[in-house]
Amino acid sequence: MIKKNVICSFCGCLCDDLSITIEDGKITGVDNGCALANAKFLGKERLLKPVIREGDSIKETEYNTAIEKAADILKDAERPLFFGWSGTQGEAQAKGVHLCMLLGGVIDNTSSLCHGPSILAIQEVGHPGCTLGQVKNRADLIIYWGCNPLEGHPRHMSRYTTYADGFFLKNAFRERKLIVVDVRKTMSSDVADEFIQIEPGGDYAVLSALRAIVRGEEKIIPESVSGVSKSQLKRVADMCKEARFGALFFGLGLTMSKNKYKNIRNAVELTDELSRHTKFTISAMRGHWNVYGANEVFTWMTGYPYAIDFARGIPFYNPGETTAAEILYRKECDALMVVSSDPAAHMPKKCVEHMADIPVIQIDPHKNCTSFFTDVQIPVAITGIEASGTAYRMDGVPLRTKKIIDADFLTDTEVISRIYERILEAKADV
């Protein structure tokens, strides 16, 4: 059997055109997907049963026991931290927020480790963007800044930008110009019409120089800015102004390099400036398939996209203080629940050390670095393969991922709901 128009729950592109071959209830083939998608759909490795740590050993157990244990840990916690969420269905994210509200804990998603600074910039200056189809149909100029789509989001260029069909472009591939900005050559820069190689940490200065040129202040620009020649800057500024529709995409190379959120602020303000001359948009290349969904769900429920502390009964947001890494670093939380992510692989050593000291609950179909520290790990159905659920693409378009094969696993939403019910019952008993 072949299932068509399957949505890939791997990266923020959420490509919805995969064809999946299923034989005897197992996935045997993936068409249209990139290598990352193939690995996801054909992956065999997974945790089969819930596991509990007893002393130095790990024991398999049943769902009920694992859920009870998880509820016990959370019930006894004074300052529980709920982290992850970028790899799960929106329904589970919403349940997670309710659980955190109930317990007066802190909830954060993986944005705090990736595009958190981009969000701070947007909160200062806004975000002139659009859906990916708008770019595909109209844009004659694409800029990738601080990202390497061919490796990170392999089908971004073929589905939405450089290689995609566009309604208003007769020969889209030839009519569209591609600019890549990075500190080093990449696969993506190799196919660019214009490659701007910036000295590490020089993004802010280059953005400022472009803004100045667009505003007609090119005389104040020195001959070279962070390794980029003035003539190239002028050429690029002209390309931007002459485009009918320009679309700038930025990645962690811009967000996480020196000056962090100020870089994004500057890029947004360049987009604002260009909007006075032509049509221009800017968008973040969001990584995990539903990290943007985590931002959306947290926002409509709590008012903030990440890093929310309910300890005082009201939603309180202060990234840098209420973000997961900082809370672990300060050894503040006394229990950690990790959903569909791997903080042990991405956080500083001191944070990971605290994970070893406190009870950790993990809800994830797979073992990862964080599993070394978990006291309970509950495997769940893989959303987009074994379970359906809502996801938000990097541009905010909501899609419903599909269940394409059966599996004997509970979903993230079911597991979190059961933990929630247990805790509610326990609270009612006292």
């Binding site: 055109d17 909160q123 002139p128 659009c130 595909k136 809502t390 378009v397 909501p398 899609l399």
Partner: protein, 567 residues
């Protein structure tokens, strides 16, 4: 079976022609009944003002751009924080509150039904996800068609049936309620950073005009027999001199429906501006009201502006960019492929600012100069003119000329030369307020037949009891008591259950989404149409199969209105 008896209520129920009588209201199993048994739960209304649950026919509370307004505005979130209560979640936000804040605050004002003013079809799931959490109101979504390529192509072919077929297919697919047109043609032009300046300006590539889009959609709407009329946000919002465009749009509107208006024009305050630039900006509310008084086929909402901080958000992308260039504050924009656009900026309406003072006056003038209150709804285009929590102040302004005079004395001193407000001495009564806040809105939306906006037998048991006693209060003098009384119900009852008592929300759930499904023959089913299918295959970034909103996004009690069509 649950039963409820509200005794001793001073009832105004305009749809059933009840204009203030002491009576009892019986509710049996969610619906208004003739009588209930002796074992029914009893609420003593003590002679207080009792109205059908409020209906807001134009507000922005759920969906992509509303949520982006929250996302980009932590300062607004901090301005409206609230703790968890026994049956209530903690909340954030003042002008763009969280879903729970919206639903609790609306219920405290007595509202049980709200229409989200703008849903992009491609992003409909998002709106429905938030509707799910809007647990204390029934919800509906205006669905955007202002820049829909398939509609514009059919208009260009002068193919009315095809326009209707596209609209019908889309409404059913995204579980929308009504046809919304925001700056028709302008949102498509904004895809190139441009706008349309007049309803007769041709739209790039498609070669048609806003006037044609409006005309065809109005006729398609009637062909589909939809409960609500076309819901229009006119071109040129917020520009001095735009009243001419508004007047011409009104002048062109045919009268095609004898049950309701043929065209609903929203936030008309923003479209009633005279002058040629901000320097000679003035009110043209008199001309707009004059036309409205001669056109029973048109209904409007005020789009009242109130002073203070708020957030503007609309599908009208180019307009928001103009605002950004005026204020230079933060600006967000979000174009939606093949369909529409949107923009957001925060604003502060200041009483010291002449333009803002004129805007404030115009909204009130429109309401006071419209003779028939059934043609003018009370609304702020929440949160564009002001957050909906300001409704009680607007009610008081309409009921008291003394209050208006006192407020007028505090605004920009030059306002008097540019507006008509000081010369208007009309004071509305409770009946007119009841019309403007629920009855007219339900009628305009076409939901009285399904039991909304009135208290007749068989209607939903949606009731608001305000701590206001008709005989003890002179609204003209005691306007502060009017504000207080309309700010917080004693009881808000939805489907026969108390959902809010003095602002304490008593339960969760019970909400319904109301949507439409026009019955369309196979011949006109767009799923089989090669050109339409090609739009998905080649130009949308989402496949046709993944576009429609699944059943899973509907709450169990959702109401699907199926319509008989001419297709």
């Amino acid at each position: 079976m649950s039963e409820l008896l509200i005794k001793n209520a001073y009832v105004i129920d305009p749809i059933n022609d009840i204009k203030g009588e002491i009576m009892d209201i019986a509710i049996k199993d969610r619906m208004i009944a003739d009588s209930v048994s002796d074992s029914a739960e009893v609420i003593d209304a003590k002679g207080c003002l009792t109205l059908p649950g409020g209906v807001d026919s134009h507000t922005h509370i759920c969906g992509t751009k509303v949520n982006f307004g929250r996302y980009m505005s932590p300062e607004d979130m901090r301005a409206g924080r609230g703790r968890a209560q026994p049956h209530m979640y903690p909340v954030s936000g003042y002008s763009v509150p969280t879903v729970y804040a919206n639903t609790y605050r609306y219920s405290a004002l007595g509202y049980t039904t709200v229409l989200e003013g703008a849903m992009a079809p491609l992003e409909a799931r998002h709106t429905h996800e938030e509707f799910f959490c809007t647990s204390l109101q029934d919800t509906m979504a205006n669905t955007l068609f202002d820049g829909n390529w398939s509609v514009m192509e059919a208009v260009s072919d002068k193919d009315l049936k095809r326009v209707a077929a596209v609209v019908g297919w889309t409404l059913a697919a995204v579980k929308g309620f009504a046809v919304k047109v925001t700056n028709p043609g302008g949102t498509e032009m904004w895809g190139w950073g441009k706008d349309v300046g007049c309803i007769h300006q041709k739209i790039d590539h498609f070669g048609i005009t806003p006037a044609e889009i409006i005309e065809y959609l109005i006729r398609a709407n009637e062909l589909l027999n939809l409960p609500h009329s076309v819901h229009l946000h006119c071109n040129n919002l917020g520009k001095p001199g735009n009243y001419k465009c508004t007047l011409e749009t009104m002048q062109r509107t045919p009268n095609l429906n004898d049950k309701r208006q043929t065209l609903y024009m929203t936030h008309v305050q923003f479209h009633s501006y005279g002058g040629t630039k901000w320097g000679d900006f003035c009110s043209k509310a008199d001309d707009i009201a004059w036309m409205l008084n001669r056109k029973p086929q048109i209904a409007i909402d005020m789009g009242q502006v109130m002073f203070g901080k708020t957030t503007t958000m609309t599908a009208d992308g180019p307009m928001e960019f103009n605002l950004y260039r005026l204020y230079n504050n933060k600006w967000s924009n979000h174009d939606v492929e093949l369909e529409t656009g949107s923009g957001i900026i925060p604003v502060f309406y200041s009483r010291k600012n002449l333009v803002n003072s004129v805007m404030w006056s115009i909204g009130l003038e429109l309401a006071l100069m419209t003779k028939n209150p059934w043609q003018c709804m009370l609304a702020t285009d929440n949160p564009n003119g002001a957050p909906f929590v300001k409704y009680p102040e607007i009610i008081a302004l309409l009921m008291s000329s003394r209050y208006r005079d006192e407020e007028f004395a505090k605004i920009h001193p030059d306002t008097g030369k540019r507006v008509h407000l000081p010369s208007l001495d009309r004071e509305m009564d409770f009946y007119e307020i009841a019309v403007m806040t629920r009855a007219a809105q339900a009628k305009a939306l076409g939901i009285t037949d399904i039991g909304k906006g009135h208290l007749g037998e068989g209607a939903y048991g949606d009731v608001a009891i305000y701590p206001i006693k008709n005989n003890d209060i002179d609204p003209s003098r005691d306007y502060s008591k009017i504000i207080e009384g309309f700010s917080l119900t004693d009881y808000t009852i939805k489907s026969g259950r108390v959902i809010s008592r003095h602002g304490n929300c008593l339960l969760n759930g019970n909400n319904r989404t109301i949507w439409v499904k026009p019955k369309i023959s196979e011949e006109y089913n767009m799923s089989n149409d090669p050109e339409f299918v090609k739009k998905f295959e080649r130009y949308y970034s989402v496949s046709m199969e993944n576009y429609p909103v699944e059943e899973e996004y509907m709450n169990k009690r959702n109401i699907c209105i199926e319509t008989e069509t001419g297709l």
